[in-house]
Structures are given as C-alpha cells and as structure tokens.
Symmetry: C2
Subunit: 628 residues, 2 copies
C-alpha cells in the first residue's frame, strides 16, 4: 500500500500515512485535538481543513466554503501539506472551575485523608542491642503518626529504605497510598529528608461524549486546573450501545475503544502537566468516575452483556489497578480507582454525583438529575436512594448539533431572542467572539425560539415569521443565531429544525425519566424538597428556560441548584477524602436501580414530553406566565 | 577489546567472549553447571577443562594433570574449542528426597489450603431482573465454596470473566492466590470448565553455599522432584560477610549478587520444568526460605547494615512480591513469599526449620541445630523459643575442601578406616564410583582418622603411622581415601591436614554455639528432651561420629533425629498449609534472638572445642567407649 507524508500546519507536525487513512485519522494520530463531534461520519462538518499542497480523494460535493475540505471525508493520494484552521480545533481545553469541591460543605474536612499522601517523619536510630529491622522502625513511626494498622511496603520502597533512613539523620518522607477498600495502606516510597515535592492526583469524569480531568494538588487539597475534551471513542459511535456493538463486532474493537479512551485522558494529562510544568511521575493517584460502559471500555472489560438482557456488567465494583496497567501517563505505580457503580446503566458517575450533591447525607428529599449522553437520575435522602437512566443523546453536549460545542472559549452560553424583530442577544464564554453554542445556550435557544414564535410546540419552524434569520438550506430550515461577520469563525452560527427536534428528543427523555422514576416510587413532584441539576452544559444554566422547554419539572425555582459536572466533583471527593470513599461505597451499595425499559411508563412519558413544554400543559402551570 | 568465539564440548554451545572473561565466566554465561566451589579463586581446583584448540593465557604452574587447565585461571587469546570433562560438572542435581513433608505429622492435614489453588465452581446464570454483575456472582460462589471473606479480582481475571462464565454453562475454574498475611485472597484467573491442568509450586532453600528447590504438585499436595546446585554467588565470596562487602564496594555489586541468586534458582527451575515437561507458567507460587542476607541479596535489598552494629536488616518480614519482580522464571504473576526471619543472623531458614521440626508445637524441650555455612540453632517448645547463629563456614557443604562436594551421585557419604591397616571402606550416593566427599562422609572421615590414630586431637597428622595413604604434597600432608584407580575421576580422593583443621573449626563453631546458647538460657544438656539436626550433609549422618568429633553434644543417641534440609521442608509447608503460614509468622514473632558475639562466652567455648572431641573430655563421657 502506498505511503504518503502529511505535514500539518501551522503545527508543523509530519507523519507517514497510507492511502486508507483519512486526513482526520492522520490528525488524530498526530495528536492534534480536532473538532469532530460526529466521530468522522461527515455529518457535523466541523473538521474542515485546507489542503495547501498535494492531491486528495474526496467524495464529490463534499467541498465546503472557500475550498475547505472535511478531514474525515478525504484521503491522501500524494504527499500533502494540510492547514488546520483555528476554528476546526479544540483549542482551549480549559474547563470553567465552578467553585471547587466544597469538601467542607459536606462534612469532609481537611483533617480527612487523600488516597495518596506524603508524610514526613523522624525515625530514631536503632538502639545498641536492637534487633529491629529498618522496616519495623518505619512501620512503628508511621503507625504512631497516622494510626494506620495495615501497612504494606513495596519492594521498591524496601530497596530505597536503608539509604533513606540514614541519609538525613532519620528524617524521611514516606509515600502512603491506599490501595483498596479495606483499611490497608501501601508504603509506596520513601525519601530522605522532609517533604519538598508537590504531588498531585487526578479526578476524571469519563463521559460518553466528553472527558474532563481535574488536576488536584493533594498536599494543598485543592483543584489546580481542569481540562476537557471530546472522547476520542466518538469515532466508533455516539452512544454506549453503538460502541458496545463495535467492541463486539471487531476482533480488536474493544482494544481500539480502550486505546481511544486512554489516549483522550492522556492528552488531557499531557496538557495539564505541560501547562503546570509538572512531571507525569508527580501525579500519584487517579480516581475515575464514568458510566458502567465507559469504565468497562477504559479498562478493557468486555461490555457485551451490558446491552443484553438482563444487562449484566462484568463488575460494578472494580479494584484499584496500577496506572501502568490502565495505560495512564502518570506515575506507573499510582493506583487508579473507579468510583463504584450500581448497575449497567447507573455507573460510578451517578454514585459520584449523588456523593457530590450531598443527598446521601440529607434529611430532605433530593432529586438529582445528571444530563449527559445518558440522562441519569437519582432520588432519595440519607435513608434511601433509587436511581434510573435513559438515553438522552449527546445533543446538549454539542453532539449531532452542527454548531454545538462544549462550554469553552467562544461558546454561546446565554441567548435571548426579541419577539417580533427576532433580534438575538447572546453571551459567550470568556466574552470571546462566538464560535458555537454550548448546552446552556441550546436550552435558551429552544425556549426563546418558541417564545418568539419561530418554532411551534412540536419544534417545527413557522416559516411566515418573515425574517432573514429564518432560511431554508439543502437539509431543511434553519435559524441564524449569529451572522458570519460577528463570529470567530467563517460561517453563520445557525440552528436547524432537525437540530431543534433532536434537542426536543433529548429534553423529552430527561423529563420522562424524572417523571417515570417518581411515578414508580409513588411520589408527586411536591414531595421533592430540592432538585440538583448536573451536566456539562456550561457554567450556569437558565433553569427557567429549562422548565419552559419542558426538560425539568415545573417546580419553584428556589428548589433548584445547578452543580455542573458532579461526576468529576465526586471523583475529586473520593480522591481527597476517606469519608467520601466510604460513603461512595455505601451509596453504590444501597442505591436501588429502577429499570425504565420495563413496562410502558417511560415510553408513554417520552412521547408526551416531545413538545414544548409538554402535551399536558397542566404539568407546567408557571409556563404561561413565565419570563426571564 | 578483542572478542573470541568459544565452543564448549561435548555440549556444542558456542558464545562470544572478550579476553577479560575467564573460561569459567564463559562457562557460567553458557549456563553449563560447573563444579567451582571456591567461586573462581583457583583454590578448589575442580573446574578443570581441556583446551582442544586455540590459545589461552594462564598463570605459570597452574596446569593440572594430563594437560587440564583450571577454567577460572585461564583467559582466551584466540577463538577456542574447550572440552568440559564429566568430573568437572555438576551433572546430577538430583537431591535425595527423604520422606516428603510429613505435613500430617505436625497436624497440618490435607484439608488445609495452599498459597495457591484452583477451585471448580458452577455459577448460576443471572435471573431475568438481576442487576448482579458477573463479578458479584463469582465472588458469591467462591465464598460459598471456600468461606473466604476478602476476595480481590485482578484486572486480567475481570477481562477473562464474562467469556469464561458463559462458555461452559457457568462451570468455571478459579485460581485463588493468597497474597499476604491478612486473610485476603486474589482471584488471579478464571477459565471455563472444570479444572484440567496440573499446577505447581516451588519450595526454595536459598543457602549461602547451596540452593535447593522442591517442585510441588499443589493439587496433589506432594513433592514431585528436587534439584540442588551451588549458589552462583560463591563467585563473589564464600560467606555472607564477604558478599555483603562485595555488594557495598561495587556500584553494581548488589545487582550482580541478585542476578547470581536468581540465575541459580532459574537454572534449577529450568531443569525441573524440562525434566517433568511442565511449562514455567504452570508454576503458580513460590516460597523461599533463606538466611537474612540471602533474602536481601535475592530481592536486591541493601545488606550493608546486616554486618554493621547493631546488625540491622532492611526487613525480617517481607511482603509477597510477584515472580516477575523477583525475576523468577515461573508464572509472572505468581506470588513469591519469603518465610519471615527473626534478625540479621537468624533468618527465614531457621523459622522454616523450627516449623518443620515441630518444636513450636512441642511440649518437650527441643534443640534444633541447622548446620550450614552459618550454624544456626534454636531451643524451646510450644511456650518459648530462643535462637542464635554462628559462622561455621562452608566446609561441611564441600566449600574449601578440595574433594568436598554436595550429596549427589558419587559422593562418599559413609567412611570407615581400619585402625592399623588404614584400610578404607566407603559408601557413595547411588553406589556410583566415588568422585568426592559430602558432609556426612567428612564427619566420618574426621572421626575415623582420629580413631585410627592418623590425626591427633588437634587435627595434626601423625606421620609415623607408616602407610602409603599418608603422604606429603606441596601444601602439607594429606590422607588418601580413595586411589585414583577406584574413582570416577582421574585423581586420588584425599583429605589434607589443612582441610581437617578447617573442618574442626566448623564443628567447633557449632558445638560452641549450642553450648553458649544453653549457658545463656541457664539450662544443662540434660534438660533437652530431643535434638533435631538439620543440614545439607546428605541423606543420613552418623550421629555417633558427629558426637565423637565433638560437633554435637554427648547426649543419648535416641534423643537425636536428623531431618536433612529443614529449610526447604519448612518452605514447602508454608506453601501447602495455611496453618503452617500462620505458625511461621508466630515463630518469627516470638523467637528471641541471642547475640553470641556479645561477651566472651562463645569465643571461649569455640577455642575449647577446636579439639577432638573437646579440651574437656568430661563433656564427652561416652567417647572413650564408643564404637560404630
């Protein structure tokens, strides 16, 4: 097979590919983060590149404006020079940090212990007739300082111990790593002298569509920075079912999915490490929260039976594995733990969310709604917990929405549309020129398009609105939110009728899930004291708009809290707090899973919820009078 | 540096060496087991080879009979063809199996559990609405079958689990490996169907001079075979102190010693695996007993402080490590455990011996004497235990004795010398032509030379005995035990005056150790109910002769038992029995170490014991009248 050299500009990265590698695949290989949310199917039209030199093969009619081609659709036929424009890139991976972990707020104080910590000790020299070993003196000193009963040295630590003990007059720093559920701690290392190095941990949210990593300073117990990226697994399918099928159908399918997840995470780790000038070896622990399928794929566990009745995962509780085994580019001996899950469709991300929102310790009845590619919800208080899940699709994370995007620089996060003039006002992340719309902006869009009379309750465009912003294109009708002149890109930012309907399906699934769960436990909306909304929409969401479109139930606004990515927050708590680790185990152990696909309840609710706000307006009394 | 090709005959192994590699080193690299007990110092004169073609550099006067050269003394100056004669080889590594492990004799029955076992189970399919994971059903079934509370899956097991569970209708075989002191068991693997494979464990005695490996069928709970070899570390010194100094003095000294130990063991494992046609991967666990220094060197732990006051080891209790970490050629994930030790000079070999002889469960007062390069002894019963150690030197294992050898094919194991005629009668292992003398033969030798009047009480030769068997050679006087014509070698088998004195120093150290220990605890010989003698002498030793030379105290013969290599036996018990594992921990925990070098007691006793049988004949009343 012929091989070609492709040079990417302006990165100036060169690599060799075959004629069977699409330019998108080549870009992925070159580890250049690209905006390709449809996973290379040619539908999202975001992976635009400019071929500056050389010949490519691409389907007729697939050319974009100004000579740009879709990287996913074209294949090299000669050596190439390819320019990747700024707007095709996932340039700013920074994730807004919305207020840290609030450990104290949930009763997890600073006296609590991280999964990994470094402790400085002074160890007395052996007495003249002592037969005590170095190890025995070390264990005694650690026990006296920490109260830990079961201490287990690693061979590497033992190899370093005699010199470390004698180099600084008995002053040593020991590295303590909790490696499992029971109260056993590994003495992972020892160094002479008092602690000087900083050491870090990672909290990971491994989502179907997006992956978010928090870099946490374990010594100072604070989040240093965060990064997010689209999950590279999207190349193999948008949702968990498609990916499970991919893993089943190809002999190396599971391995490819595993590699994609690991490579996504490692890309983020690399960014963080470079940005903060820390060595990957200084990252000493990681806690990963994700849905059950994601955790299976991440660890290379066969996901087959997750999609087959009775939906059996390999494991919900997974023992910690070494970073080297998981393939993470951090300290190879670091323990990587996964937050325990409940069932095939309620994973560690839900456990983490329930942990992060504090409902498991609450006297009030709390409804927790985590809106991602899977919509997952939990209901309960300190005494009982139920949970369920439904497939919402990746629309609110930008998946399948041409100008959808994650909540990063230039993402439209708030929208208002003036009824009559259809004048659009918007706010973007970092007040940058708009390049797309994130989840919170999309909720506003639907609410405001409806309010302005651009769409009807079924999401159909009302054409006689008579504005140049409403126009037809090859694939139907669309509304222009931002004209090209104002954008940070070279095209208008639009939302199409098909996309509106896609978003309505997502919101309908979420509402149907909530209502089905309440029905199944026999409680009315009124019984709920507090609603916690989580998800990757952005920094804020407009709850009023979310109610107005019928995504969230019509309850008093003061009952609502939005906590953003609760999965990564819960993972961070597990990383930092022994009490949180215990509690996560308890939550996963006691949360009852409700299967929504049994019976007709969910499907009936879903169909009724496909409208703005709902077929039954009686469920949304406040919508008639609401205003922002 | 010039490189030369050396071909070894009759093995027909070829390798490339530099002019700085002695032929002995080349032979070691070629992994041909050679008789070189002095470790390449040119003193034992056993590593004779015949240079068939090519040029070597060797010191003048170092040629041996019939053109043979010492491999350790000559260096290539051209490409070579070298023949290694049969008598220079450690050809038969077989170790006499003296009656197995007697697990039952110590109350360790067959219901007891090995460190590793494979259990077949039938696991029910999940119910229609079950949310149970594969792992949770597996754990439930293992618990029901075995009662084990803490079960921990490995990632590899989880990866194999879903397929294994479904391939044979829920019938699986699980691999259970105890990995540590507390009651935690690793689920190391799972296979569909009922158990078919055999699986093995290794019991290892890692001695300063010799290494012995027992291959144990863990399913059938029996010793299959045994192999022994000289420890390749001998190249770096005869005793632990010399080796510690070597490890300290050279930057890669510790690593070289570690490699030598590991390579010795792997050589034996390779022999066993080949001989029994088993895959190294089928060996799933190993238990190693050795003195504290040997265990340090085997695991690459700095031994420096073992020889410096107050004689501090890195650790006496070492957590299990993976075979891959230890470098053993068995299943890479197999756990290798070391029998816990007590102090720098009372290691896991003593714990294993005390375990094997049953004294820790005995109502009677037992004296345990393990005679190796270090003489180690323990005294006690089920209520208390004390131990001490002294350096005896490798003489009784053949070290420093020109015709000394391990108890293998052709070793003279029994000797009688007719007073007057000085006629010698002997018995050899496997009744083969004699090639050297093993420990039990050496004891007889001294006893009978004294009785026949060849040597006096100080070990000096009495020249006027008037027999051609007594003759002078360059380095002094010697006694011819076997004339060349009768031997399996090309030389006479002799014992020299210097060697007799060397053996007397060894026996004196042992006797002095025993007497010092008894003195220090304030007990007379009479208080001892039973004496258990252990060591690598051979299959039997003549206790009467051992008393006659003053090595063992003059107590009624019926109090004595000889149990051979108690270290490898104890290691085997630890491998096979949970109760033995617990007991080994208890023994190491409660045994009080007595330092013999404190005060003058030991040195005074040693000097008094340098004679046959002792300066104080009152201590050996039976010797005046004894006869075989």
């Amino acid at each position: 097979m012929p091989k070609y050299t492709v040079q990417f500009l302006p990165d100036n990265i060169e690599l060799t590919v075959t004629g069977e590698d699409s330019i998108l695949r080549a870009i992925t290989k070159a580890n250049i983060p690209l905006n390709a949310s449809c996973g290379g199917k040619g539908t999202c039209k975001r992976c635009k590149v400019l071929v500056k030199k050389g010949k490519v093969k691409s389907p007729a009619g697939s050319e974009q404006e100004k000579g740009y081609l879709l990287a996913c659709r074209c294949y090299p036929e000669s050596d190439l020079i390819v320019e990747i424009p700024e707007e095709s890139r996932l340039t700013e991976h920074q994730v807004a940090l919305d207020g840290g972990l609030h450990l104290d707020g949930n009763g997890f104080g600073n006296e609590d212990t991280s999964v990994y910590r470094e402790v400085s000790l002074k160890i007395a020299a052996p007495g003249p007739n002592s037969t005590e070993s170095d190890m025995s003196r070390l264990v005694g000193a650690i026990r006296a300082e920490t109260g830990i009963e079961h201490l287990r040295p690693t061979l590497d630590m033992l190899r370093a111990l005699p010199r470390a003990l004698r180099q600084a007059g008995g002053e040593v720093t020991v590295f303590l790593a909790e490696d499992r559920e029971n109260n056993s701690v590994e003495i992972a290392g020892v160094e002479p002298g008092s602690m000087v190095n900083k050491y870090y941990g990672l909290a990971l949210d491994l989502g179907t569509t997006t992956v978010v990593v928090h870099l946490i300073d374990l010594g100072e117990r604070r989040v240093v920075d965060a990064r997010g990226a689209y999950n590279k697994q999207a190349m193999y399918g948008d949702d968990v079912i498609t990916r499970i099928i991919y893993a089943d159908e190809y002999p190396d399918g599971l391995e490819k999915l595993r590699e994609a997840a690991v490579s996504t995470i490692n890309g983020l780790i690399g960014d963080l490490a470079q940005g903060w000038e820390i060595e990957p070896e200084d990252i000493k622990a990681a806690v990963c929260a994700g849905n059950t399928t994601m955790i299976h794929l991440f660890l290379g566990l066969t996901p087959t039976n997750i999609r087959l009745e009775p939906y059996t995962p390999v494991a919900n509780i997974i023992p910690p594995v070494r970073a080297s085994q998981a393939g993470l580019d951090i300290h190879p001996q670091a323990w990587v733990r996964c937050v325990p899950g409940v069932a095939s469709y309620v994973g560690g991300d839900v456990t983490a969310g329930v942990l992060a929102c504090g409902m498991a310790l609450s006297d009030e009845l709390v409804l927790f709604v985590d809106i991602g590619t899977n919509g997952e919800m939990a209901l309960g208080n300190r005494e009982w917990l139920v949970s369920c899940a439904c497939s919402a699709g990746p629309a609110f994370e930008g998946g399948g929405i041409r100008h959808g995007m994650r909540a990063m620089r230039g993402a439209i996060e708030q929208v208002t549309i003036e009824p009559g003039s259809l004048e659009v006002k918007y706010a973007t992340v970092s007040a940058a020129p708009p390049v797309g719309i994130c989840g919170s902006g999309l909720i506003d869009c639907i609410a405001r398009l409806y309010k302005a009379g651009v769409i009807n309750r079924g999401g159909n465009f009302i054409v006689d609105a008579g504005s140049p912003r409403i126009r037809s294109f090859a694939e139907g009708k669309e509304f222009v939110l931002v004209w090209a002149g104002e954008t940070g890109s070279f095209t208008d930012i639009t939302i199409s009728e098909a996309e509106v309907k896609n978003l309505l399906r997502s919101k309908a699934a979420i509402y149907a899930g909530i209502r089905s769960m309440l029905k199944m436990v026999g409680l009315p909306f009124d019984a709920v004291d507090r609603v916690v909304v989580a998800g990757g929409f952005g920094r804020h969401i407009n709850i009023r708009d979310a109610i107005n479109i019928g995504m969230l139930p019509d309850m008093p606004l003061e009952k609502y809290t939005y906590i953003g990515n609760s999965s990564v927050k819960g993972a961070g708590m597990v990383l930092l707090s022994r009490r949180a680790r215990d509690l996560a185990g308890e939550i996963a152990g006691k949360m009852t899973y409700i299967e929504l696909s049994t019976g007709n309840t969910f499907m009936e609710e879903f169909v009724s919820a496909l409208f703005v706000p709902h077929t039954d307006l009686g469920l949304f009394p406040s919508c008639a009078t609401s205003a922002k």
